[in-house]
């Protein structure tokens, strides 16, 4: 039948179900397909801390949101345009995010009395008229796949598990997306089990055909693909981008890569990816604890490796003492903190930006170190390379802050040309005149001599050491000199920090300063308001210590400065302390990123205020 086709610039779809329903898989397949046709993609996997929370419960709901389109795709989307809900609990949890008149596709099979009760519904929402504001499509997925696969030889349980693939097929039809990338994936994934391959292909196509033939759907949508630059693309999460960049950095520095780590949500994938890179000669140790993770890395760095440790907040707390050791040893080390909601165990699977103070100041004694922050999943790649470059050039530990959202969300990534990534120059010291704490006059980095170099045997340690010689020293004046030298060295990192870029108007009414993963929400809001004619300026910081050289002169120009953060104002505090200029704080601490509409409203509110 002929249907109306509506062309859209961007759309947000969310697949939601039980944590065992395969929603993460469904979502990631959908996002690969949408990226494949050439749209911008931003995803948000939202899942509970429990591995398989009790079926049907509200807290066991797992969801995957995909925002794709040709314009304004900076975040996974404020509101959902299409919600696919596999059971009552997932409907209840996610309905508040579905826009009015949005499309709601519901698997009716799971709307049993028991499930309704588990989801705390008094009456069945599919029948009581409470969903009248949405375009509701009631489909019994289970019945359809049972019918389709009755003679497939699969067990009832295996058949039931294909229902998410049916939903995927239907979603592809709805947005006129090709089945081919998912078909290829099914063949590759289940290649050794032809029965499963056949069943999934059949169900996928059936989902697509269901849309085509069923008169329920009067409208189809088409996303206008974006004109992407030529090149090779893939989807990538922030955690994978960090892992890949570590391998690239080691290669560019001609050093072995060593990762010492300990499992922790949401950083564990970095460990998983690195441990899968054995064919590339990567060294890793899963240590007995977080402290072992960082201290093994310090040992490896002493031995001449590019050493890194990956963690999240609670782990960074445990690594604090060893970070001080790395500061005084002056060895290169990369610490990646995939921040999560704290304090303590907090909300392990939810994002937050509240480790900035810890990264900046969380060490006893004067122990400054460079702090960087990635702003998007693909920026995690670039900023990891930056962390390595700074760590090696200045012989210092560097903390790279990402967060649970950046780590697990994905976006399409134009794969960089490996050969055009600059080398990271490293020279081990081999001359016989070695003095462990003699410094390069420009960077103040000490020289790196590694075990195995004849005649350069030397000891370094956590005790204060004499300037130049490195011999243990408790001399008062020497201590002050060493403290100042270590601080000055980190200040000099600024030589390698690119100037902050100012977007918008130099003479704007308001300057917005963001850092980390707030980038997407701020940029989307900023673009919309600029388009509407507002005079705004925006600086997004990726270098938090030291700040870019020009930041002070930018800040000076503005009377109103807004700093949105997923913490109670940590960057705002540091900016005020550094530049003696009041800023307006704006925080959200809900384990979720800002909606761009929240930022937009705040900007408008600040503009109106005196």
């Amino acid at each position: 039948m002929e249907r109306e086709v509506i062309y859209l610039e961007d759309v947000t779809i969310r697949f939601a179900g039980d944590s065992g329903d395969g929603m993460q898989l469904t979502g990631s397949r959908f996002s690969d397909t949408s990226a494949f046709i050439g749209t911008d993609v931003s995803t948000f996997p939202d899942y509970p801390s429990e591995i398989r929370a009790p079926e049907g419960t509200l807290y066991g709901v797992s969801a995957y949101q995909i925002h794709f389109g040709s314009k304004g795709v900076y975040t996974p989307g404020d509101q959902i345009d299409v919600l696919v809900a596999m059971n009552p609990a997932s409907l209840k949890v996610n309905l508040p995010y579905l826009r009015k008149r949005g499309i709601l596709i519901v698997n009716t099979a799971n709307f049993t009395e028991k499930n309704l009760k588990l989801a705390k519904y008094e009456t069945n929402p599919l029948e009581d008229g409470s969903l009248k504001d949405y375009q509701l499509f009631k489909i019994n997925f289970n019945e359809i796949v049972n019918e389709l696969l009755r003679d497939s030889g699969l067990s009832p349980k295996q058949i039931e598990r294909t229902k998410n693939i049916f939903a995927l097929g239907l979603a592809y039809w709805l947005f006129d997306l090709p089945l081919s990338t998912t078909e290829d994936w099914i063949r590759k994934k289940f290649g050794k089990r032809p029965q499963i391959v056949e069943a999934n292909l059949k169900v996928l196509r059936a989902g697509y055909e269901y849309g085509e033939t069923n008169e329920l759907f009067a409208v189809r949508y088409k996303i206008v693909p974006k004109k992407l630059e030529p090149g090779v693309y893939r989807n990538i999460t922030g955690n994978e981008a960090v892992a890949l960049a570590l391998v690239v950095a080691a290669n560019k520095a001609k050093l072995p890569l060593f990762l010492g780590s300990y499992p922790i949500t949401p950083a564990s994938e970095i460990l998983h990816f690195i441990s899968s890179y054995k064919p590339y000669g990567v060294l890793h140790m899963q240590m007995e604890d977080e402290i072992g993770g960082i201290t093994s890395s310090i040992g490896a760095a002493y031995g001449g490796a590019l050493a890194a440790t990956s963690t999240s907040g609670p782990g960074l707390s445990l690594k604090v003492e060893a970070l001080g050791l790395a500061v005084i040893l002056e060895l290169p080390l990369i610490v990646v903190d995939v921040q999560r909601a704290g304090p303590s165990t907090g909300m392990p699977t939810k994002m937050e930006q509240a480790d900035l103070f810890l990264a900046m100041f969380g060490r006893h004694g004067e122990a400054p170190l460079p702090v960087l922050a990635a702003s998007t999943p693909t920026d995690c790649f670039d900023m990891t390379l930056e962390a390595a470059r700074i760590a090696l050039k200045y012989m210092t530990p560097v903390i790279l802050l990402t967060d649970g959202y950046l780590g697990q969300s994905s976006e399409e990534w134009k794969i960089p040309d490996f050969n055009s990534i600059p080398e990271i120059p490293v020279n081990f010291y081999t001359q016989p005149d070695y003095l462990p704490y003699k410094r390069d006059p420009i960077t103040l980095a000490r020289y790196w001599a590694i075990p195995g170099t004849p005649g350069l045997e030397h000891r370094i340690g956590g005790l204060e050491k004499e300037d130049i010689t490195g011999i243990v020293s408790h001399d008062p004046l020497n201590h002050q000199r060493m403290v100042e030298l270590r601080a000055e060295k980190i200040r000099r990192v600024q030589q390698d920090v690119p100037d902050a870029e100012l977007w918008g108007y130099e003479n704007a009414d308001l300057l917005i300063i963001g850092w980390g993963s707030t980038y997407g929400s701020i940029k989307a809001a900023f673009d919309r308001l600029i388009e509407k004619g507002y005079k705004l300026a925006y600086v997004h910081l990726k270098y938090l210590n030291p700040f870019p050289k020009n930041l002070g002169s930018i800040i000076e120009k503005f009377d109103k400065i807004l700093v949105p953060e997923n913490n109670l104002g940590q960057l705002a505090f540091i900016l005020q302390g550094t530049f003696m200029k009041p800023v307006i704080r704006y925080h959200k601490i809900q384990g979720r990123i800002f909606l761009s509409s929240e930022i937009e409203n705040k900007i408008l509110e600040v503009l109106k205020s005196k």
Binding site: E288, I298, A300, Y302, G304, A322, F418, V426, R459, G461
Partner: protein
């Protein structure tokens, strides 16, 4: 890609391997208390290092915090004086990054078995190729005399003025239980014995744990006298030697016989038992190692010294190298470009 580290190892000039102990003396003045047992250990280490025929630049000594942990400053090798309890973890990273090095850990009973206990047991379990020398003085000395994990029951200390109510660790049993492939005990007063043990540890491939009874003259003087002083030692200690029966006593007149699994003291002079009835030490027998280590705090038998266990197992770092080689061999394309692309990529022309 050949790394800079590989280049350095490959292109290194051939260095002398003929050393005297003084080649391993650092210019730094040793600052332990006069009479401290650590002096003897330092001297024995410098002696055996000189004789190992390993280039000096290949040694690294890693320590934590405590009196013993000042050790790296006093040997002219590479080294890190780390933070409390973490020496074994620092050393593990170094050894995995640099399997070509001879990596030693110098630690004390507090550093190794209290704050650092977790690292110790896991490095032992993984069989990381470290030589861990635990200077056991049964007290926290650098912090001035608090109870340690090896302090004896009821002993008064600064932090147990009414007596210690904690049961002490038996370090040899702990190391064995953790899977160490080399476990030995020696003491500061017998240079020859210590040298022989250290030399074996140095040559061991895998995790070597050596407990060294080290007298603290200030806070726990004489703690080991019963087992180490010339006048009492023969009656209260037994030296383990591979393939030899366990004989002890002032006139070598007693021995250890296994009664079931229980070591018991028998007289060799009363006509009831002869040398042939005695337990013969086998350092490759892990069951026996547990029985012998368990004699440690048993008041009815002498305290054992020597090598409890020495067995061969592939070390962690060897397995790391092998795993990488195998993975490389199975992967047709190990270029970084391919890694960056991943499995699902597409091209826009």
């Amino acid at each position: 890609m050949t790394t800079l580290v590989e280049n350095l190892i490959k292109n290194k000039p051939i260095t002398t391997i003929e050393y005297s102990p003084k080649d391993f003396k650092s210019p730094l003045e040793v600052r332990w208390c006069s009479g401290c047992g650590s002096y003897s250990i330092l001297a024995q280490i410098q002696k055996i290092l000189a004789g190992l025929k390993i280039p000096r630049e290949q040694f690294a000594f890693i320590s934590g915090i405590g009196c013993s942990s000042r050790f790296p400053y006093y040997v002219q090798t590479y080294g890190i004086h780390g933070i409390h309890g973490r020496a074994v973890a620092i050393a593990s990273g170094l050894k995995v990054a640099r399997p070509d090095l001879s990596v030693w850990v110098v630690t004390g009973d507090g550093d190794c078995m209290a704050i650092g206990g977790n690292h110790l047991i896991h490095a032992a379990r993984k069989n990381v190729g470290l030589k861990v020398l635990m200077f056991n003085n049964e007290i926290y000395s650098l912090t001035k005399g608090q109870v340690s994990p090896t302090t004896q029951l009821l002993q008064p200390t600064k932090s147990t003025p009414y007596g210690n109510i904690e049961y002490p660790f038996n370090p040899a049993s702990l190391a064995l239980g953790s899977g160490a492939t080399f476990v030995a005990r020696t003491f500061d007063r017998d240079p020859k014995h210590m040298q022989s043990i250290l030399e074996r540890a140095a040559r061991h491939n895998g995790f070597a744990f050596v407990e060294i009874y080290t007298n603290c003259v200030i806070y726990n003087d004489g703690a080991f006298d019963l087992y180490t002083a010339a006048e009492t030692r023969k009656e209260h200690s037994v030296m383990l030697e591979h393939g030899k029966p366990l004989i002890f006593g002032s006139n070598n007149d007693k021995g250890i016989r296994l009664d079931g699994f229980t070591p018991t003291v028998v007289s060799l002079t009363d006509g009831k038992w002869s040398v042939d009835d005695l337990l013969v030490h086998d350092e490759t027998d892990s069951t026996l190692a547990f029985i012998l280590a368990n004699m440690t705090y048993n008041p009815n038998v002498p305290r054992p010294f020597g090598i409890f266990l020495a067995v061969q197992k592939p070390s962690y770092e060897e397995l790391v190298v092998k795993q990488i080689e195998d993975a490389k061999a199975k992967t047709p394309d190990t270029s970084i470009e391919t890694l960056l692309k991943g499995e699902d990529f597409w091209e826009i022309k």
